[in-house]
Symmetry: C2
Subunit: 259 residues, 2 copies
């Protein structure tokens, strides 16, 4: 079971020892403190002093969260090294998280620490994500009749020069059918993507006719227009209906959660 140690209002010198020790033991560290943050790397940024939550995970992931908003204001997805030192001149605890590739640094200056929590967490729970684009693709590959006509699957994730074709099929007339799948509303960029693949195929073989189909639960107006202009097709699919093809997908509905 989790081991959790709480330090309330440590001095900066005490905090330095606590954090260094916790880092060396690869604990999870959560700090509530008044701090400023500088970032330098692919871009650079400066965040003035304010009260935030600093998270250092056992694998070195670093996150700095403000009191509002989903996204961390600063972060380091993986750190090669976190340096902790006390700057007696500025009277701040300095934590520098380094990353080698890309070469980036996040430097945090803490001048008032409210809380440090050191935690050893056990988490081996499996995570299941249902109906990803990959799942839809595999269902359609084995059941191409879902698209409403007789089709034969030739290839899945077929490599062409500019990328990968989700589904590469042939229709009953022997035409090549290129399918681009979107799990959510298809937008103009999906149509562009499909056109790109078709252009690539056309440059290699000139004899056969090539059809392009966007498969998605819905499509934006602009995407529909571009589709018509490019003489491509759209096939609407019902994602919920597809779930019956997946054994392990749970049949719970939003309604069950809201009850």
């Amino acid at each position: 079971m989790a081991k959790v140690i709480v330090y309330e209002e440590p001095s900066l010198e005490e905090a330095k020892k606590i954090v260094k020790n916790a880092l060396s033991r690869k604990k999870n560290i959560y700090i509530l403190a008044n701090c400023s943050v500088d970032y330098f790397g692919r871009s650079s940024s400066h965040l003035e002093f304010g009260e935030r939550l600093i998270i250092i995970k056992s694998d070195g992931a670093l996150l700095i969260h403000r009191p509002v908003g989903h996204s961390p204001v600063n972060w380091q997805p993986e750190t090669s090294y976190i340096d902790v030192s006390y700057d007696s001149e500025e009277e701040v605890l300095v934590m520098k998280a380094l990353r080698t590739r890309p070469r980036e640094v996040v430097a945090i200056k803490l001048d008032n620490i409210f809380l440090i929590v050191e935690a050893e967490l056990y988490d081996s729970g499996a995570f299941y994500m249902h109906i990803s684009e990959k799942e839809i693709r595999d269902i359609l590959a084995t059941n191409p009749e879902i698209l409403g006509e007789k089709l034969t699957t030739i290839d899945v994730e077929k490599k062409v020069e500019p990328g990968f074709i989700d589904l590469y099929l042939k229709d009953k007339k022997g035409n090549v059918v290129v399918v681009e799948i979107k799990r959510l509303t298809a937008r103009v960029d999906a149509v562009r993507q499909l056109k790109k693949y078709i252009n690539s195929l056309k440059s290699h073989m000139r004899t056969e006719k090539i059809r392009g189909i966007i498969v998605a639960p819905s499509i934006t107006k602009k995407a529909q227009e571009l589709l018509l202009k490019e003489k491509l097709e759209f096939k609407q699919i019902n994602i919920e209906a597809l779930s019956k093809y997946v054994g392990k997908t749970e049949k719970r509905s939003l309604f069950d959660y809201l009850k």
Copy 2:
């Protein structure tokens, strides 16, 4: 200054009161607990029981973080309502975070709570991000001579059918110059993007010559090849050197941070 209250190992019934109260006062809430998570909405997922950090921010943002990794395993960027109840049958505290658009729900079941921290944080610190693509574009628009020749800026973010041209200029010979800017290494997709804009322009006006320039600190080999094939140009810029055109950008280098 921050007000922080720490509750160590509360019972589930106590936790229910603490969380409900903190939610109603729009506090930041941090919970260390053994929990399972179900998500249903644009996609759906199930996470088995394990020890994690649950963050509820004062604006309703919800994050569930495992002990490793940058990204939260489950989240709700904004919640319209968080319901907290005790399920006496399963002996778990249930927190359901609802979102109306898109209609989504994250349901957390907690069966063992190690720590709850309730915090009122004050954070008004400004955040400065330096040299975005937009900034580079504006600097080049007002100082096109940086590109190494006499150019006149005609338009910024010019709308053409497939999108927006970063910079639309004329050179001293009166040729149209289309510039695509990348803040980091330019890749093949940047070249494709540029080509797309030029094609669009060509279809509208046939008299003038159109040049295309990729402006970036560096370019990949593949992009360079495509560039040559398409008879387009690459102009290297030094982002550091551009910063002198931005008043508020700090002149600190990576070296200063690493010292």
